[in-house]
């Protein structure tokens, strides 16, 4: 079954890398995968978005048409991308930057992804890996170990421990968000 994941935010947040890691994990799990991106000419700043399409069969259209899963990490990305989310889809917002969202027919999760990266791990730079942990836990899209393995295969040797902890922090934050939701 075709599943579309869209990751959107600001250039420099590492969302394209997160998308590549997600796509590599899905590839290693034997799925057909297509990963694409849109970004401006800037190295940092500007909008940046990335799509990953995962399917058991051959993928005809390689970009996201109507994402099943959407992660937004900036106010602008939230405004632009949320209207395109599939009805009944999963919406993950980095509540560090996305404070409010338009009404969406989706399962909405507000998780302070960038704040977790900065406060718990001391590096906002790993917010993208925290986000992958959150996404893995909230969506069950791919096995945790496949995603974590893809993260570790992509990052420099000396940052492996930091990235492992970032992924775990994301998973933990998502677990917490789910508990809050269930008890509410």
């Amino acid at each position: 079954m075709r599943r579309e994941i869209r990751l959107a935010g600001t250039g420099g947040q590492g969302l394209i890398l997160a998308g590549v890691i997600l796509a590599e994990a899905a590839t290693s799990e034997g799925f057909q995968v297509a990963q694409s991106q849109t970004y401006g000419p800037e190295a940092r700043g500007g909008s940046s978005a990335c799509s990953v399409v995962i399917d058991g069969e051959e993928i005809d259209f390689p970009e996201a048409e109507e994402p099943d899963i959407l992660l937004v990490m900036s106010k602008e990305a939230a405004e632009q991308e949320i209207p395109k989310l599939k009805s009944g889809g999963v919406l993950i917002c980095d509540s560090t930057y996305v404070k409010s969202i338009p009404p969406a027919d989706a399962s909405v999760h507000m998780v302070p992804i960038s704040a977790i990266a900065k406060q718990q791990l001391g590096r906002e730079m790993v917010a993208n890996i925290v986000a992958l942990g959150v996404l893995a836990e909230l969506t069950g899209l791919l096995p945790h170990d496949a995603l974590e393995g893809a993260v570790l295969a992509r990052v420099p040797e000396k940052t492996k421990d930091l990235n492992r902890r970032a992924f775990a922090a994301g998973v933990a934050a998502a677990e917490k968000a789910l508990q809050v939701r269930q008890s509410a």
């Binding site: 590549v20 796509a23 995968v33 694409s36 849109t38 259209f61 390689p62 970009e63």
Partner: protein, 413 residues
């Protein structure tokens, strides 16, 4: 599957480099430009490891010139660029066509004209790729629509360049170049063998560098191999010396064309998707074909018969097969990320067998399948409503085919 056949996530530009190296490319000269930069970057890393040479040149004019020099000396050589650089290369692409120097030029199309939008896809260089350099000249233009095809068509580009001694343009677009897909790329999975250029079978004293064999292609000695080779952009005789004699001019210009035209069946290729029973045919190439093929899936869900004719070679064009499809279809839609380029060829080749309407999408992004389907449905509606659609089969230079507006404004009905 054995480990070597394991699928990997590969980017289009990366697949292009792997295809080139598989085909035997050992020389790359280029000037990096978005969205082709990864090709230069990867060549700089991978070529030294296989005994090849990478040179970052001062500009694109130098790049193509270096490629031609390397090829004349016997190397399989390539350069990659985007619109602005492709414009600069035109003069020497003509030189390659005239001097019959095999070479591969990758143009990853971005939104133009001029520097346009560096990171946005477009298909605005179709006519330039075919007709960009002055004078009648032979050139092959290939249009990849997937990462796997970036690999295969780059390898095929070398085969065609070497076999026919022509410049071959791999006309990609930003979507396919930057797309990453799960693929198995192996020399063993290539659907054709690797071709080497034809060498002289005569001794140096008997060698005439531009005396063609029956296939229209002269055997090519490497510079430095002891054969007397003479290269010039001037019209030349079989010995390679300039000539203005009308019969020499005539025979050279015609031979340069016939070596491709006479082998068109062997060169021209296309993909057909649900074409046999299609009432509406979408002719689409490159990334646009992916949207069109997905649109046929959406159409099937609605019980509509849409088919896709995807030319893989934009030049020479697989025109017999297109004409057959046109004779069966109610109408043809040609969606393009430009203001209507290949649609003109499709109209010319199908010569009124059915209405051919273009759809221009120039927003610097790939349209969704849903948008392509919407245009297809509008065209079918229009075809039903207006019997004399043939005279209306003109290009609509807009995002949307609007038959009412089109009739009132353009045709006074």
């Amino acid at each position: 599957m054995t480990p070597s056949h394991k699928q990997r996530l590969v980017q289009g530009n990366e697949a292009c480099v792997e295809g080139a190296i598989t085909a035997g490319m050992r020389f790359y000269a280029g000037y990096p430009i978005t969205p082709s930069t990864e090709i230069a970057e990867l060549c700089s890393r991978k070529l030294p490891a296989v005994g090849g040479t990478f040179i970052q040149m001062e500009d694109e004019i130098g790049s193509i010139a270096a490629v031609l020099g390397a090829s004349a000396a016997g190397m399989k050589a390539m350069t990659a660029t985007s619109g602005p650089g492709f414009s600069l290369m035109q003069e020497n692409i003509g030189y390659a066509a005239m001097a019959e120097i095999p070479c591969v030029i990758v143009n990853v199309q971005r939104q133009g004209p001029s520097t346009g939008v560096a990171t946005a896809p477009a298909q605005g260089d179709v006519m330039q790729a075919i007709w960009g350099t002055h004078g009648d000249h032979p050139v092959v233009v290939l249009s990849p629509a997937s990462v796997k095809e970036m690999y295969e068509l780059t390898a095929r580009a070398f085969n065609l360049a070497e076999q026919f001694r022509v410049p071959v343009v791999l006309l990609a677009d930003e979507v396919i170049a930057h797309l990453r897909e799960s693929v198995v790329l192996d020399r063993e999975t290539l659907p054709f063998p690797i071709v080497q250029r034809k060498k002289p079978s005569v001794s140096p004293s008997q060698y005439l560098p531009f005396k063609a064999d029956a296939d229209g292609v002269p055997p090519m000695a490497n510079l430095g191999d002891g054969y007397r080779s003479q290269f010039t952009g001037l019209v030349h005789d079989e010995a390679g010396f300039p000539s203005t004699r009308p019969e020499v001019v005539n025979s050279l210009i015609r031979r340069l064309h016939h070596k491709l035209e006479d082998n068109r069946q062997q060169i021209a290729s296309f993909e057909a998707v649900h074409l046999d029973d299609a009432e509406l045919v979408i002719v689409a190439y490159g990334s646009m074909a992916r949207a069109a093929i997905a649109a046929t899936r959406l159409a099937q869900e609605r019980g509509l018969r849409l088919g896709v004719f995807r030319p893989v070679t934009l030049h020479p064009f697989p025109h017999e097969e297109l004409v057959t499809a046109a004779a069966r279809a109610r109408a043809i839609l040609v969606p393009e990320m430009n203001l209507g380029q290949l649609v003109l060829e499709v109209q010319r080749l199908t010569a009124g067998r059915c209405p051919v309407v273009g759809w221009s999408y120039v927003r610097g992004e790939l349209p969704t399948p849903d948008l392509v389907l919407t245009q297809a449905l509008r065209l079918l509606e229009a075809e039903e409503e207006y019997e004399d659609l043939l005279q209306l089969a003109a290009l609509v230079r807009d995002d949307i085919v609007r038959p009412d507006w089109w009739l009132e404004q353009e045709w006074g009905a």
